[in-house]
């Protein structure tokens, strides 16, 4: 197991290094002054120029420059935003929690509704139920997320007026940022409106989270269904049936834990697409997360924001997908066995 973990760590480091190389090359191709592209300082004084040239070793060769770039970035120095002149790191810590909140909620909705529906689809012998569940998932898989978001906000937000369609919370509430996660912050806050602020924030998250949940939901349903259909044919399920166990016990105790393994694997594979969808959803619902921040960064040609955003999001995705892979191996005895067999 240790050896496996070291190999995964190696993979993480190697992939991150390639990512940094790609970013370094991209930065040198940005159509602005190199100093502005690296640090975001628009009109540097002579003093700043000397310091930046020294920090990034701009007079040395490419490899030395890359090492200096890597050092700066790993020190947490992502430069200044060229439009707001704030530190990128501060802006990033302000927007990341909102994205996590949205992603977590969407994932929760997808898993909570997807797994039962997938089990239902696999167990039902009724052709109509099966076909309609598959039709719903296929449609959900094919729907363009920006159009779905617009339609939902037009319907539930404007015509029915049930749910708010933009932002994270009503601007009337003033909530101090403690953890950065608004739903937790509203509960922690000691103002007398804390509860109503929490409910308001909860209302705001429903539409974006549902829009974002559609893609993982359909994937979860399909994978759960196909996994359950293979598992229910296995001999150990027949043995459990022969012992006279109730179907619900068989599903809950014997089948579902095994069906969860491929679901986990596919959730890991889906992270990239999920992040793309999340960015679009954030733009549509004006969700103050990293996606909306990045898209506004590209509209304003804010090259340091683009760099910082892409680096952090891509590193997060690499990290999370490797983490999910490790969890998958830890949970799945069969892949552990392969692990020992492989060289």
């Amino acid at each position: 197991m240790i050896r496996y973990l070291i190999r995964r760590l190696n993979l993480f480091l190697a992939t991150s290094l390639i990512l940094f190389i790609v970013m370094f090359i991209a930065v040198s191709k940005f159509p602005v002054d190199r100093i502005a592209a690296l640090t975001g300082v628009q009109q540097p004084t002579a003093q700043q120029i000397t310091r930046i040239t020294q920090d990034y070793r701009l007079n040395d060769g490419q490899i030395s420059q890359f090492i200096a770039y890597l050092q700066q970035r790993l020190d947490g120095d992502l430069g200044l935003s060229s439009t707001s002149q704030n530190l990128i790191l501060d802006e990033l810590t302000a927007v990341l929690p909102a994205s996590f909140e949205l992603g977590f909620f969407a994932g929760l909705i997808a898993v909570l509704f997807g797994i039962p529906l997938g089990v239902l689809a696999s167990l039902s012998t009724n052709k109509i139920t099966q076909h309609s569940i598959m039709a719903i998932t296929l449609t959900g898989y094919s729907i363009p997320v920006f159009w779905l978001g617009l339609t939902l906000s037009l319907w539930f937000g404007v015509q029915l007026g049930w749910l708010p369609i933009s932002g994270q919370i009503n601007l009337l509430y003033e909530i101090d940022s403690v953890t950065g996660f608004l739903l937790i912050d509203t509960l922690l806050s000691d103002s007398k409106y804390a509860l109503s602020a929490f409910l308001d924030a909860l209302q705001h998250i429903i539409l974006p989270a549902v829009t974002l949940a559609v893609l993982p939901f359909t994937v979860v349903v399909r994978i759960t269904r196909s996994a359950m259909m293979t598992i229910m044919e296995e001999t150990y399920i027949k043995a459990a049936e022969a012992r006279g166990l109730h179907t619900s016990t068989i599903v809950m105790r014997h089948a579902l834990p095994n069906a969860f393994i491929p679901v986990l694997k596919n959730l890991g594979l889906m992270l990239g697409a999920f992040a793309s969808y999340a960015m679009v959803v954030e733009v549509i619902f004006s969700w103050p997360g990293v996606g909306a921040w990045l898209v506004s960064g590209i509209y304003q040609r804010d090259y340091t924001v683009i760099q910082g955003g892409i680096l952090s999001v891509a590193l997060l995705i690499i990290f999370l997908s490797i983490l999910i892979e490790i969890m998958h191996t830890a949970l799945n005895p069969i892949s552990r066995k392969e692990l020992y067999a492989a060289n």
């Binding site: 993979l11 190697a14 992939t15 991150s16 390639i18 990512l19 790609v22 991209a26 191709k29 940005f30 159509p31 296929l138 449609t139 898989y141 094919s142 729907i143 363009p144 997320v145 920006f146 159009w147 617009l150 339609t151 037009l154 404007v158 992270l271 990239g272 697409a273 992040a275 793309s276 960015m279 679009v280 733009v283 990045l294 898209v295 590209i298 509209y299 040609r301 090259y303 683009i306 955003g309 892409i310 999001v313 891509a314 995705i317 690499i318 997908s321």
Partner: protein, 296 residues
């Protein structure tokens, strides 16, 4: 020499015709195939049958409702947008931008992925893992982020979408083909061919390639639907096709200003994207289930 039927047996269908009959047994998949074929024809010949040019502005018919609405006219079948442009014509002109470009991107990505994936799949050890993991970093950058990076370097435009989506798709093809080749290499019939003295190139071309073609077909259908959604999303965010272009995603974003007064300017291009992606996914699903008895 006259062919004489010695045996009274039934005709034994070839694998291809067996897949075809399994595929046509599924009515949904077959309907999807028809839809895809007609989309292809529209992408090729759409501009010729469109009643108006995509930029033609009719000042007397601004924000006209679709023809089934009492306010609509049949001259503008799907209504017009805020500049009086005929939505039906724009959809037809946009088909080759959205659907045709998705096809182009997938073919390019398939070609590159096939070369890299099969080389890395046939090799063993460190070289193979370097080649296959080299693109993992790219795989981890979501297609939209990749597009933002490309747009940051070159500026927005339809040709940059080609690069952005292509770069984001290629690693998926590399990975799928690498895994398929790698899995086939472990099987006994490959060992048998090797014992017969086949060299690696012969093993790849005659032994492995016919057995990974189903993976490639499935990956291609998945790739096309992902590419359409990506192109449309980029058009919607104004990072891909720019304002007057009739690309379907860009049409949705152009209709956004009139979402409340004229929802059809957003709904109709959205439904067009949904239907084309749905048709491709239906074909992909049908192919997968038609191919699966052979694969297992």
């Amino acid at each position: 020499m006259p062919q004489i039927k010695i045996y009274q047996e039934d005709h034994i269908p070839s694998p291809a015709s067996r897949i075809w009959s399994a595929f046509t047994d599924n009515p949904f998949a077959f309907a999807g195939l028809w839809a895809v074929v007609s989309l292809l024809l529209l992408a090729l010949f759409g501009p010729f049958i469109a009643p108006y040019s995509p930029e033609h502005q009719d000042p007397h018919a601004l924000l006209l409702a679709p023809s089934w609405d009492p306010a609509g006219t049949v001259e503008h079948f799907l209504g017009t947008d805020d500049l009086g442009r005929d939505i039906f014509s724009r959809l037809l002109h946009g088909a080759h931008l959205t659907f045709g470009m998705a096809l182009g991107i997938v073919i390019t990505a398939l070609f590159l992925g096939f070369i890299i994936g099969s080389i890395s799949g046939m090799m063993k050890g460190l070289k193979s893992s370097i080649l296959s993991h080299l693109l993992d970093a790219l795989l981890s950058i979501p297609s939209l982020l990749m597009a933002i990076l490309v747009v940051a370097i070159t500026g927005p435009g339809l040709s940059n979408v080609f690069w952005a989506v292509g770069i984001a798709l290629t690693p998926q093809f590399v990975r799928a083909i690498h895994q398929a080749v790698h899995e086939e290499l472990q099987k006994e019939y490959v060992t048998a061919a090797r014992l017969d003295g086949a060299n690696p190139l012969q093993i790849f071309w005659y032994v492995i390639l016919p057995n990974i073609s189903d993976t490639m077909i499935i990956q291609t259908t998945l790739g096309i639907s992902a590419a359409i959604l990506d192109i449309a999303a980029l058009g919607f965010l104004n990072l891909g096709a720019q304002a007057p272009s009739p690309e379907w995603g860009a049409m949705v974003s152009q209709g956004m200003d009139n979402l409340l007064t004229a929802p059809w300017t957003v709904t109709i291009p959205g439904v067009a994207i949904l239907c084309s992606v749905l048709a491709i996914n239906l074909v992909g699903d049908g192919l997968r289930s038609a191919l699966s008895p052979i694969r297992n």
